[in-house]
């Protein structure tokens, strides 16, 4: 355990730059210190926000200015010499890059990545087959390429065309990606909370599952779960999405409210209206809800004002009576344990 807060080492912790002993100490401290867990989320949020900064293309005018620069002209050595200097620079660059690559793969954890179609790009290298890619690199596909990322020994992720994902960290304690844009299909077979995908609208946490996650460049996304469960978390807000259900994600607002894909059209339209406009849509959601749609209503309980919460509760109690031992008032107060217990009972119908 640490006797001081490791506030200044949290970025290094997330970047996989701490030695094992130090990393274990930080992890132990995080387990007991809410203040540092909050600080860690801020650091993580700051890192994720940077995905919104695109690499800018240098204007052509810069090279023209360099060529015509008086300074360059007056100091420029003979043409042959310049060619040799640039050739030497390229050679040195190549050697330095090779040495750095060897060094980095020895010291930084790596991901096994393979091209499934076309030529995906990892960092600045095009992949043609299977390769080891160090954590920290971006993996990108264009319209005609796809890639597969091996997630340790617990599963794999397929990166769809026109997508970019950052390979954040991979080790025995967990595997973490950041989806910048596009889509992934994840298939994970492992205990819960070993695989994480960060997006601008929150983090998708694997609870043992298969799912598809899409996200556009402004961070708005959609999660669709085909097997198991996925938790979407953002600043204390959590949406639990089981197989057969989907959930929208909004940059700056976090996860929306999950719904089953076999719900009625009227219910789905009303939910869409609720997430975008609110207004009168809650009445229609409650009227159209089936027993299975208590998945949606359970999440609504904590997302509506106290007055509407009573209406949601009453509709839920009609569809699936409150289990013995649970108190209406405790649920309406959003008591964590009461909500959890009711959810566990409702899940039998989901």
């Amino acid at each position: 355990m640490l006797d001081t807060h490791p506030s200044d080492r949290l970025a290094a912790y997330l970047d996989g730059e701490l030695p094992d002993i130090e990393r274990n100490r930080v992890e132990a401290h995080l387990g007991t210190c809410a203040r540092c867990r909050h600080a860690l989320e801020l650091v993580r949020s700051g890192r994720t926000a940077l995905q919104h900064l695109p690499i800018a293309s240098a204007p052509d005018a810069i090279w023209s200015a360099i060529e015509t620069s008086a300074d360059f002209r007056t100091r420029r050595p003979p043409a042959v010499s310049l060619v040799w200097r640039l050739a030497a620079a390229v050679l040195v660059l190549g050697i330095a890059a090779s040495v750095y690559r060897i060094w980095s793969t020895r010291n930084v954890t790596s991901w096994q990545v393979m091209a499934l179609q076309g030529s995906p790009v990892a960092g600045s290298r095009r992949l043609s087959g299977g390769e080891s890619v160090p954590s920290g690199k971006w993996l990108e596909t264009d319209a005609s390429s796809r890639a597969r990322i091996v997630v340790g020994s617990i599963g794999s992720v397929t990166l769809e065309p026109n997508s970019r994902v950052r390979l954040l960290s991979t080790d025995a304690s967990g595997h973490r990606l950041a989806l910048g844009a596009g889509g992934i299909q994840a298939s994970i077979s492992a205990p819960p909370r070993l695989f994480f995908v960060e997006t601008p609208a929150g983090t998708a946490i694997d609870l043992g599952c298969e799912y598809q996650l899409h996200c556009d460049r402004n961070g708005t996304g959609m999660l669709r779960v085909t097997s198991g469960w996925v938790a979407l978390e953002w600043k204390g807000r959590e949406s639990l999405v089981p197989a057969g259900a989907s959930c929208r994600m909004y940059a700056g607002r976090g996860p929306g409210i999950p719904w089953f894909e076999d719900a009625g059209d009227g219910f789905l339209r009303a939910l869409g209206d609720f997430e975008t406009h609110r207004g009168e849509s809650l009445d229609r959601i409650l009227a159209e809800a089936r027993t299975r749609d208590t998945l949606t209503l359970w999440h609504l309980l904590s997302r509506v004002e106290a007055g509407d919460r009573v209406r949601v509760f009453d509709r839920m109690a009609t569809l699936a009576p409150l289990p013995p031992g649970l108190l209406r008032d405790r649920v309406l107060e959003l008591d964590t344990q009461s909500l959890k217990k009711w959810r566990e009972e409702l899940a039998w119908t989901w």
């Binding site: 080492r9 926000a49 695109p54 810069i62 360099i66 640039l86 460049r217």
Partner: protein, 168 residues
Amino acid sequence: MVYDAYKDQVYSIALYYFHGNASVASDVTQQVFLKLMKDFHNFRGESAFSTWLYRLVVNTCIDTGRQADARVVSMEPHMSEMVATPGSQEDDAAQNQMAKSVQSAVSALPPAFRAAILLRYFEDLSYEEMARILNCSIGTVASRLSRGHRLLAEKLSNLNSRLGGKER
């Protein structure tokens, strides 16, 4: 060619270091590559080429910032200059707004934090290499990144709150 391999990264670091000011970023990029050509004979291979290059970038940014301070020149860009990247016309308003928010928040960071964050984000440099570039210890790099990211998240949170308030 070295210029083609590094121009976008150098330009992007300068662009976001100087509040999205494309004019200053172009000037810094030009200075960096002119220095690179002029001083190439000083490169002895004792460090990685990228370390040498990015040290040049950071030093040029710092010098340019100091000169601007001395001349009391504003580095704030016109709004039309912000995040002027290819493809931005196709992006929707929300994407542009988010990019501008992040850019504003990065620009508001202290220079030492800003440099560390941009080097790490655009170049995936290791802490050891960043320490050599920034002429500080690995611990200082870790500290600047931790504090920088926290500040960035807090600034964005405040910004989002204000934007959210306006929407409602």
